[in-house]
């Protein structure tokens, strides 16, 4: 008993109280900024070095849906036009808004339709499906329930059964062997329901995009409601993305 009390005191107050204005480590790579200067003539070093074709040069654009947040393009640019800041607000409801240009200052998902906000605004239960995820995204999604992030305080929780869920969260590039289980799981969720893609793998396939073992048809057949980039997405990117989406 005394040990338990001692442990509780050591626990202190580790929670991130203000999830919208937290301070991440200086080196954390979140939203990039692109300086408003022209590229040197003929230079495409940033685009050429990117292993996942996330970057286009002259003018520089970075697709955060494809980006794995390695610093290769930042290192490659001779003019130092690209800089990854530790701003973790990078979720979006529209795929095209994930493309960062020199004009991009912030990325925020628009509020969902009124019906979705009325249904899920105060309580959102999600079923996660790992479809080839390497366990990186899964670890970060599990971290959402720990004492630091405690997503449950906002009424957002992961549930065991798709029957109890209001939507699914997909991680991984969607392997051939998981494409059918994913479809069955989605069909088992009662409507209205939402689809959230978490992580570069599910949004654009990461380095597995062109593997013959990957089958991404599900994404063409269904409307995606929220994109949460990152490799893996930071827990705070996930929480703030969903909170903005449901209008909180």
């Amino acid at each position: 008993m005394i040990d338990a009390i001692k442990l509780r005191i050591l626990q202190g107050d580790p929670i991130v109280h203000d999830v919208k204005n937290a301070n991440l480590p200086k080196l954390f790579r979140g939203l990039p900024t692109i300086a408003d200067k022209p590229c040197p003539a003929g230079c495409d070093k940033c685009a050429a070095v990117c292993p996942v074709r996330a970057v286009t040069a002259a003018p520089v654009k970075i697709d955060l849906g494809r980006c794995t947040f390695c610093p290769l393009c930042e290192e490659a640019c001779p003019e130092k036009l690209i800089h990854y800041t530790n701003n973790y607000h990078i979720a979006s409801d529209k795929r095209e808004n994930l493309i960062v240009t020199k004009d991009t200052k912030t990325i925020t998902p628009a509020r969902a339709a009124k019906k979705i906000r009325d249904y899920f605004g105060k309580s959102l239960k999600l079923r996660q499906v790992s479809a080839g995820g390497c366990n990186g995204c899964e670890l970060e999604l599990n971290a959402l329930n720990n004492v630091n992030f405690d997503m449950g305080r906002f009424g957002i929780e992961f549930v065991a059964s798709p029957r109890h869920a209001d939507g699914i969260v997909i991680t991984g590039p969607i392997t051939r062997n998981m494409s059918n289980p994913l479809k069955i799981c989605y069909e088992a969720v009662p409507g209205p329901k939402i689809i959230i893609l978490a992580g570069t793998c599910s949004i654009a396939g990461h380095v597995f995009e062109n593997s013959d073992q990957v089958q991404r048809k599900f994404l063409e057949e269904n409307k995606i409601d929220l994109y949460i980039p990152g490799c893996p997405p930071h827990p705070l990117t996930f929480i703030t993305g969903i909170l903005s989406f449901i209008g909180r």
Partner: protein, 492 residues
Amino acid sequence: MSSLQIQNNQCFRLEEIIFSDKNNFLKIVSEHLANGFRMIGLFPPDKSKPGKIIAVLANSGSSELCITGGEFPRDKLEFESWAVSFPQTNYFECELAENYGYIPLNHPWLRPVRKQNMIAGGKAYQFYKLEGDEVHEVAVGPIHAGVIEPGHFRFQCHGELVYNLEINLGYQHRGVEALFLEADRNRRIMLAESIAGDTVIGHICTHCNIIESLSNTPISLRAQVIRSIAEELERTAMHLAGLGGAANDIGLALAASSYGRLRTLVINSLADLSGSRFGRGLFVYGGVRFDFDSENINLIIKKLHTVRNDVKVINDFLFSSTGALVRFEKTGAVSQDSALKIGLVGLAARSCGIELDTRINYPYGAYRYFPVSQITLSTGDVFARSRLRALEIDESLRFIFEQLENLPEGETKTAVGDAEPDSGVVAITEGWRGEVVHIAVTDEQGRIAQYKIKDPSFNNWYGLSLALRKTEISDFPLCNKSFDLSYAGHDL
């Protein structure tokens, strides 16, 4: 014995491998297996020339590592299975059959490894089935109740007792090994970091060792030490996560949340160093991308002091709780004899009293100069696997503090040249789960022609199956958590 003796991370020429005819090859491998060697690889070194395969064998007791080759008649890719006498080769033979069409004759149990419900030759696979009164089957997955990776489990039960647990995987198969052959260097690094997201450092470190050995690149001591610190941070973080998971599975919320809090501190230390909570982006060929400076080192030391102080209190709380011990002790026990027979590796093997730690048996990188201690326990149950993780956290933290206080000076990056043509390397590192093995072979132009990866989970899933025998089905979550295996690492 006609085999090529090599060292961990040593580049060898392909022509040095001795290829015997099929019968001799089978005999040589059998002799090695009888003399305490374990199989760590069985595959054709060159896909374009069918009929040639190599076996990579390791004897951790004597720190020997060797390769032997066999030549099969091209029209008859069959061989007498070793698995009848040496069950540890069972899964390697299944993999060889599935990937390359070699048929192991008289194999005790030919199963699909990654393909769904098919075995070699395109035949439908029949799950193991128990029949009789009071017999029932429980099938779960591929999608499980929590936020975890997919896999299909079939329990054949008699009353409350599990007679057999069949583990059917492959749902996560992304074709990583094939992708390695097409990828350029930057893409390969990303691939290696994504083999198993919980063992980012373990896999990327092994992959970098492969490329650096193939190109004879010496790595600065400072870079080696930073790599080892990252490895130990990953080990500490995942052990904390695993202990938290075990505490959660027995309903001890206070311990579970405390372990979770400390894990956050450890992975945030990795983020202070590399910008990623999992250490992605830290490794480059020839060294590391990020270095310690006076600012991040202080942040990290401060966090790790808290971890070292608090983890002691939590461990005392967990391992003196009668409720926890009742659930941990004698649950899911694997005997040392079984563990040796099926070739368990890593912490699952060490908890059965087997001395098996790559950092000690096949030292690499900074571990050659700054050794760590071999820790083993003997009971092979959930208690041993959990307690061992607690002890390994202490040892990892000791290592990290020792290194942070005496960081060697020097550069952190070395230029990497071209890979040697017609060569090969076997690289083994000790990931937090156990040995991570990568084996690469280059063609005549120095391009990677074959890349094989063995995650420790490949060996250990069968251990979980054994642990469940004659155990109550309700103990499955706890046993599963105590092994803490990777699906993606197995399925690649």
